[in-house]
């Protein structure tokens, strides 16, 4: 794709600005800011990746992955605002999920420890874990608020905070995992996912592209499950005192 084609395709943003203006949605400014941010961020990342791929350094690769995790943790933590230490819990959970999945993929020989492979794969799993762990903490917070009476009933019967939270933990973890599970169900039928589309556009045979997409699907599912489970288990403790009292 040449630069002119790219500039012309950017004119499509005008459609969304027009709809926003016509329907008085009041999001024209946000669309413009979002578009500019996307251009600046992607250009910046493009150059960074170009440098890292060229340098082919383990240190730079890991630094890039860690930076992705921190930014993802910071973004997802907004959904859990009010929960003490939520940024650390989400960041740890995303890192944990990503580390297990990446290690497994490398050990299974699905990818090699090269920046060209590790960074895009990390981006996909970290992005997915960011959304799911954000959903998990947000739901956890809502459930504790709306089910205070239920939790106190458990505590009054002699349950500890873990036992009293069993049900809300299940709900919160499930909420975080459902978008990934749902998208898995319609994969290839309703949507041709990002990686597969990219490979097909890049000229790879669709059958081969499907193999990669399958790997991406499995790795996203595992990372999501690990991140949601970990963040829920770390966060629920913040709603209780050490004496199993609901705060």
């Amino acid at each position: 794709m040449n630069v002119l084609s790219l500039v012309m395709s950017s004119s499509l943003v005008l459609i969304s600005i027009f709809i926003s203006y016509y329907q008085k949605l009041g999001v024209e400014k946000e669309i413009v800011i979002g578009s500019i941010r996307a251009i600046v961020q992607l250009t910046f990342v493009g150059y960074i990746l170009h440098y890292i791929f060229y340098a082919n350094s383990i240190l730079f690769t890991l630094a890039m992955v860690i930076a992705m995790i921190i930014v993802a943790g910071n973004n997802a933590a907004k959904r859990g605002s009010g929960i003490p230490h939520v940024f650390y819990f989400i960041t740890i959970s995303i890192a944990f999920g990503a580390a297990i999945t990446l290690t497994a993929l490398i050990l299974f020989g699905s990818i090699h420890f090269r920046p060209q492979e590790v960074i895009p794969v990390s981006g996909m799993i970290i992005g997915n874990a960011m959304v799911s762990s954000g959903l998990t903490v947000s739901r956890l917070k809502d459930e504790v608020k709306s089910r205070r009476h239920e939790i106190e009933t458990y505590l009054a019967l002699g349950a500890n905070s873990r036992q009293a939270s069993q049900k809300i933990l299940k709900i919160a973890i499930k909420t975080g995992m459902m978008p990934t599970i749902d998208s898995m169900k319609t994969l290839g039928i309703v949507q041709l996912p990002g990686m597969m589309t990219g490979l097909i556009l890049g000229g790879v045979d669709p059958v081969n592209a499907v193999k990669y997409q399958m790997m991406v699907t499995f790795m996203m599912t595992s990372t999501t499950a690990i991140a949601c489970f970990t963040v829920a288990l770390l966060s629920y403790t913040q709603f209780f005192t050490k004496n199993h009292q609901l705060i």
Binding site: H149, E152, L157, G158, N243, H244, Q245
Partner: protein, 242 residues
């Protein structure tokens, strides 16, 4: 367990004073009813006893030992609590009654025995909780607390959502349980007649302060405090004196 003693107990929620300077004794084996306007601090008072919350001032002793020195989980099993809205867990009546014993590792709970304690026959065992009436659900929540074999039962307005017939059943049941199991009952009620009917002793809390407590008969026939007199005569509400 023989006595609960409150010594200068207070509770603050951030800057809001919910309870202040509560000093009193509760002797075991009796029914204590707690009365007072809405928002007086009655529910907070009983939540302090099973440590769902801790006092921010003063201390509570059970048999001269600070309740903070008891194992909190064991304490909550000894001091059961029944709420205004009986939250029953999904599943059957049996699942609910077995819950307390199950989480402490006991598998052989005699469900029929606890059902009989609340005047229900064993056919209820397999009933789904969604199929129960309000009165039945409240009886199951009492049976569920009894399965922990408590010595004290805290009741937070257990009949306020029930019809008169179900209310009568619960009142009779609680009096019977107290006599049969030598339970100590601490019962919050908004119903003055109910307090007279069931209480051996009555505690009056207003605006976070313990105004008066004593033998129920003397409390209602000859209140010592003017605020108590006003409240009994329906002239003291949450908003103040009418």
């Amino acid at each position: 367990m023989k006595k609960i003693k409150f010594i200068d107990v207070g509770f603050k929620d951030h800057d809001d004073v919910i309870l202040k300077d509560i000093s009193m004794e509760i002797s075991f084996g009796y029914i204590y009813t707690i009365i007072g306007p809405s928002g007086a601090g009655k529910s907070t008072f009983i939540k302090l006893i099973n440590r769902l919350i801790d006092p921010t001032e003063g201390k509570i002793l059970i048999d001269e030992k600070n309740i903070k020195d008891y194992d909190i989980i064991k304490l909550r099993r000894r001091i059961g609590m029944v709420f205004q809205q009986p939250y029953l867990f999904e599943g059957t009546v049996e699942d609910n009654i077995k819950y307390g014993p199950m989480i402490r590792g006991q598998r052989d709970t005699n469900v029929d025995y606890y059902l009989s304690m609340v005047g229900l026959d064993k056919s209820y065992r397999t009933r789904k909780v969604d199929d129960l009436s309000g009165g039945e659900a409240q009886r199951i929540s009492i049976a569920r607390s009894l399965a922990n074999e408590p010595t004290v039962l805290l009741l937070d307005e257990p009949t306020s959502a029930l019809d008169p017939a179900s209310t009568q059943v619960i009142e009779d049941l609680v009096i019977e349980l107290k006599n049969k199991l030598n339970l100590t009952i601490i019962w919050i009620t908004h119903n003055m007649e109910q307090a007279k009917r069931v209480g051996d002793f009555t505690i009056f809390i207003n605006n976070g302060r313990l105004i008066e407590y004593g033998n129920t008969k003397a409390f209602f026939s000859n209140p010592k405090n003017d605020l108590t007199r006003l409240f009994i005569n329906g002239k003291l509400t949450k908003e103040g004196i009418e």
